[in-house]
């Protein structure tokens, strides 16, 4: 169905498209789930709306309430749209080293942005948001890193959609941030089709982002459940950009930079399966489109130059 009562109702049901040119063989095929076809253009619409609806059911959110969230961008944009339609205020705590488009979109939706320092990346945003939550007890922090509604949105939505569209699915590859996508989809797939391999691709940023003062400031999201994963790849900016451009040049898909990291891991998995002579259907997530990253220069000039421009930026 393509008719909806409101933008919020148009969530999910995203297309799964084959990648005939990038698939290694006829027997090992790659499939992209286009999560940029969600209301604000990213996969984060799913957890954002699910977390808001859970807080409404629990009576934590009422008309006029203020939502607080640490976010490097997409979750904030999703929350800002839903908050606008539902009559909530929104305060986003965002690292200062994110793309300018993310800041502009949040401001366009009327969200307040509190910037956290670049060094330490999202860790600092989480720490600052927790301080703000304590100082403002009437604000409602949804907290995507530990909110079960985040993973549930993928357990109920993304996972079943994938298996319905691709019953022959053998591998699922997604980006690792809050871990919500991989934990939710992974749990669903392991229950519904236990042989499916679930693979994480996490961005490897420049040194600035890992600049913690001490190791005890390290952060593992409360949602993270490594038992649902069969492997985890760390992908740097150069490989992420290279794959992002290959996806555009070969298959016509204009994706964000994190998708390049996910495709890099998906190709590694697919090539291993092909080398063993297996038949495989490898599905991966296109978390958002490239629009929000044009100003980073990701799509122009040499890969080395583009990767150098991303150093120290939170590009996923």
């Amino acid at each position: 169905m393509a008719r909806f009562e409101s933008l919020l109702d148009a969530l999910g049901g995203t297309p799964l498209v084959g990648l005939p040119r990038l698939s290694p063989t006829h027997d090992v095929r790659l499939w992209a789930k286009l999560e940029d076809r969600n209301p604000t253009g990213s996969i984060k619409d799913r957890p954002a709306l699910a977390m808001i609806e859970a807080a409404e059911r629990e009576g934590k959110l009422r008309r006029g309430s203020t939502i607080l969230e640490p976010t490097s961008g997409n979750t904030g944009i999703s929350l800002a749209m839903a908050a606008k339609l539902k009559g909530y205020g929104l305060v986003c705590v965002m690292p200062e080293n994110t793309s300018t488009e993310r800041k502009q979109l949040l401001q366009a939706y009327g969200a307040r942005i509190v910037f956290s320092p670049a060094a330490g990346g999202s860790n600092e945003a989480v720490r600052r948001a927790k301080e703000l939550a304590e100082a403002n007890p009437d604000w409602v922090m949804l907290y995507q890193y530990g909110n079960p509604a985040n993973a549930e949105a993928h357990y109920r939505g993304t996972g079943p959609e994938l298996l319905k569209d691709l019953p022959t699915l053998t591998h699922f590859v997604g980006g690792l941030g809050t871990t919500g996508t991989l934990v939710g989809v992974g749990r669903y797939l392991h229950e519904a089709k236990p042989d499916v391999q679930v693979i994480a691709a996490e961005p490897r940023y420049g040194e600035l982002v890992y600049g913690l003062r001490n190791l005890d400031e390290g952060f593992v999201p409360e949602l993270y459940d490594p038992s649902v994963l069969n492997g985890r790849y760390s992908v740097g900016a150069y490989d992420a950009l290279r794959r992002t451009r290959e996806l555009l040049e070969n298959e016509g898909i204009f994706a964000g930079i994190s998708t390049g990291a996910v495709l890099h891991a998906a190709l590694a998995v697919a090539e291993k399966a092909a080398a063993r002579g297996e038949t495989a259907d490898v599905a991966f997530v296109v978390a958002d489109a490239g629009w929000k990253y044009l100003s980073t220069g990701a799509y122009a000039g040499s890969l080395d130059e583009a990767a150098a421009r991303l150093d120290g930026q939170l590009w996923a």
């Binding site: 976010t71 979750t75 990346g121 999202s122 994480a200 952060f219 999201p221 760390s234 590694a268």
Partner: protein, 90 residues
């Protein structure tokens, strides 16, 4: 040939500021022990009770060793072992 070990900023106090060091070993633990023999104290930051510190991630080339045998994960000549603190995404 040897293994290249990439050291995060936070642990470079142990390597005299070096971003990466060369080491030998057939497993992650052997490589860490070899680094420790020249850069005393680093192992205690990485390994707690015979397991990797919960806020430390180690990758052989690009793959997280926790899914490949942990400290016993295989390392080959020419591999890069990358050590990184765990940070938030999202």
């Amino acid at each position: 040939m040897a293994v290249t070990v990439s050291i995060p900023t936070i642990l470079r106090t142990h390597t005299g500021g070096e971003k990466s060091v060369e080491a030998k070993g057939a497993t992650v633990l052997e490589v860490i022990d070899d680094v420790e023999s020249r850069h005393a104290g680093i192992k205690g930051r990485l390994v707690k009770e015979e397991k990797l510190h919960r806020f430390i991630n180690v990758y052989v080339n690009d793959e997280d060793v926790r899914f490949a045998g942990g400290l016993e994960a295989e390392v080959k000549d020419g591999d890069t072992l990358t050590i990184l603190p765990a940070v938030a995404g999202g």
